[in-house]
Amino acid sequence: MLSPELGHYALALACIFAAAQGVFPLIGAHRRDRRVMMLAPGLAIGQLIGLAVSFLCLIYAAVTNDFSVQNIAANSAVSKPLLYKITGVWGNHEGSVLLWALILGICGAAVAAFGRNLPTALRARVIAVLGLVAAGFELFCLTTSDPFARVWPAPMDGQGMNPLLQDPGLAFHPPILYTGYVGFAVPFAFAIAALMEGRVDAAWGRWVRPWAVAAWCFLTCGIALGSWWSYYVLGWGGYWFWDPVENASLIPWLTGTALVHSAIVVEKREGLKIWTVLLAIATFSFSLSGTFLVRSGILNSVHAFANDPARGIFILGLLAAVIGGSLALFAYRAPALTAGGLFAPVSREGALVLNNILLCSICAVVVTGTMYPPFMSLLFDRTISVGKPFFDATTIPLALPLFIFMGFGPMLPWKRAQLWPVLQRLWVAALLTALACAVAFYGVSGVLPALSCAVAVWIITASITDIVERIKLFRMPLAGSLQRARMLPRSIFGTALAHAGVGVTVLGLAAMSQAQHKIVDVPIGTTEHLAGYDWTLQKVEQEPGPNYTAMVATLEVRHNGKIVTVMHPSKRSFNSQNQTTTEVSIHTNLLSDLYGVLGDKHGTDAAPTYVLRLHYNPLAPWMWLGALIMALGGALSLSDRRMRVGAPRRARNASTSTVTAA
């Protein structure tokens, strides 16, 4: 019943729904015709149903091994485990575009469902903008990358998936990352709707913020998951390659973080309005261009699925329409928005402005570093590459002041503040930081890592101090403090938690710069010494797997004579594609990772030797733990009653003061 043709039809239907969703509510909002505007939620939900049916059909085809579908034949095989048959659906170009459209559909339906308290015209416009974007992508999916195309004659078995992608971490990385990317479509749609209405006010800031925070949480988790995958699957011992694809996710994260902060200023002080609208447009534009420039093969990368000129042209056209159109609208309408006041430099809003300036400077550096090589090869025909040394030298000096200001930013009062009282309250944190600084300069090699350690301690202690000060812990009886803590808005805890998460991540990154490793080629029975551990290669065996054979090593690790762990790094040879993958073995105690990689077999069969790469990675788990804490902080803020979607109402009646766009 769930045939590929049904899926194709449902996708086409969703595209029509999306086009209608993009057109009718706009007409309704323009004419102030309530009945036409009320079409928007229904159309959005209709589009989502079409996409969901279409996606289910593709999953069904994958699970039932329908190799007459070209996409399944090219990316699946009978012998593939069931989990990877399902997740393999989005592990290729066609499926990932469909997943992208599905998440966009979910966003549209979410605005329809949770945005009941929004003014009708604003909601209609937001849903319409989401519909227009969705229609573009569904058209792209239908015309240039049809996931349901049949192949005749149908092959007996598929070609199988890239073994590297056969991993549980990667199964959930794309949906989470895409939810982050696509989630920023909602703030984008709000920004476009506000430009059409010619009106941005505190209520608008309140409505946008939850969507931006939610998307930011997903993007944070998605990036962390991707980095973790690269750490434990690719087996190169690192966690971030500064590959264009990784940068493509980092860039919208930076502008998205700036957006989450500047929206607070819109909400509390009605300032930075035009800037926030621009940030919302920029964040989604970066998400779009990031994913799709990569997919189109303009940026050379491992993640590029296909280099098809028709797709490239369609994508460039779509990007030009979305980004160019929104920027043109911005240029045309932004002067109509009333500018907010200027702020005192020492104040909460002043600190938030500084946060935005620094984040955008870092973003500019990353964008330049990512785009410079393709431009050089395009314009001057020189092949160059920009890697870790470049990004380390440029981003760290800009990030350090950001981290320092992050410590006391949340403690500054609004409007007008004095620095001295705040610094006085932070003396414990400052003392601990000075202590950490001394320890770091003694124990950590390199000035930047040592400074990073110190600022990480500063961020964490300052965030804790903020909460301690607010609930007057140690200055009044404990019961009173607990009472105050209960009364404190959850978004305050959310901020402190998210900031502390940044500190944890920075600490992990700084400690990882002290990682040690050793590459050896040894016979069985040898013991190696690294970072105070004794690593003994005990045996190497051949083991069969479902669609591969593995060479598995047994590596015993002792510390002061006591067994810490027995690791089993392995090397898999896949039968179907003549490919090998390296399976890393990691033992973690949350303070450090022991990381073992098995390489090639050398020597004769009588006296074989094996290449081993051993890593000692201090505080490695903290990098991803910190990202998780950041996302939890965001989620905690989201659960705040004041952030609840649609709770606030506009001060004045929205429909009377609405300026309709020409």
Binding site: V365, T368, S385, V520
Partner: protein, 181 residues
């Protein structure tokens, strides 16, 4: 504080941050950019020993040698672009996708006795060719991707641009690569 001084503060903050970003970038561009070179470029004009470059080409079949210095595994292999070959020395584990006769990118520095790689990359697409290596081959006239797969690496030193033209004229005939010297 007047409106003017507030605006001044804002402008100063913006200019400082963006100025610092620009200065850092220019500094990094002059020292941390890694250029891509082919073996013939290295032969013609070796890069200074303190400059990291990416050397790209095909691994000459039969040139890979594994040896040990103490317990450290050392690999040596020749990388060619058809006109010249450079010997690369690498300590460590070669990537899973590394194969003789296929393309590779080695990141490292050029020394008197050869190229010392700190990293060997064998990322590639379905045609087993990193984009930059494919570009370099096309430029030197060794390979036109419209006419079949790249010729095998061992024949390249004897192969000239005219041979590639011949293949182009008659794509069905076996490539001159097949006739070993």
């Amino acid at each position: 504080m007047t409106r003017k001084t507030r605006r001044l503060w804002l402008v100063i903050a913006c200019v400082t941050c963006l100025g610092a970003a620009a200065a850092l970038m220019l500094q990094a561009f002059s020292s941390d950019i890694v250029f891509f070179v082919t073996p013939s470029q290295v032969e013609a004009k070796p890069p200074p020993a303190d400059r990291t470059v990416r050397l790209g080409g095909m691994v000459v079949a039969g040139s890979v040698k594994q040896e040990k210095q103490g317990e450290t595994p050392v690999s040596r292999f020749d990388v060619t672009d058809g006109q010249a070959a450079v010997t690369v020395r690498f300590e460590g584990i070669l990537p899973d996708l590394f194969r003789e006769g296929q393309s590779v990118v080695a990141v490292g520095t050029m020394h008197k006795d050869g190229f010392v790689a700190s990293e060997v990359l064998a990322k590639h697409d379905e045609t087993y060719m990193p984009k930059e290596v494919a570009e370099a081959l096309k430029k030197s006239g060794k390979w036109d991707p419209r006419f079949g797969p790249p010729p095998s690496a061992e024949s390249w030193n004897t192969m000239t641009a005219q041979d590639a033209q011949k293949t182009k004229a008659n794509p069905d005939s076996p490539a001159p690569a097949a006739t070993k010297p």
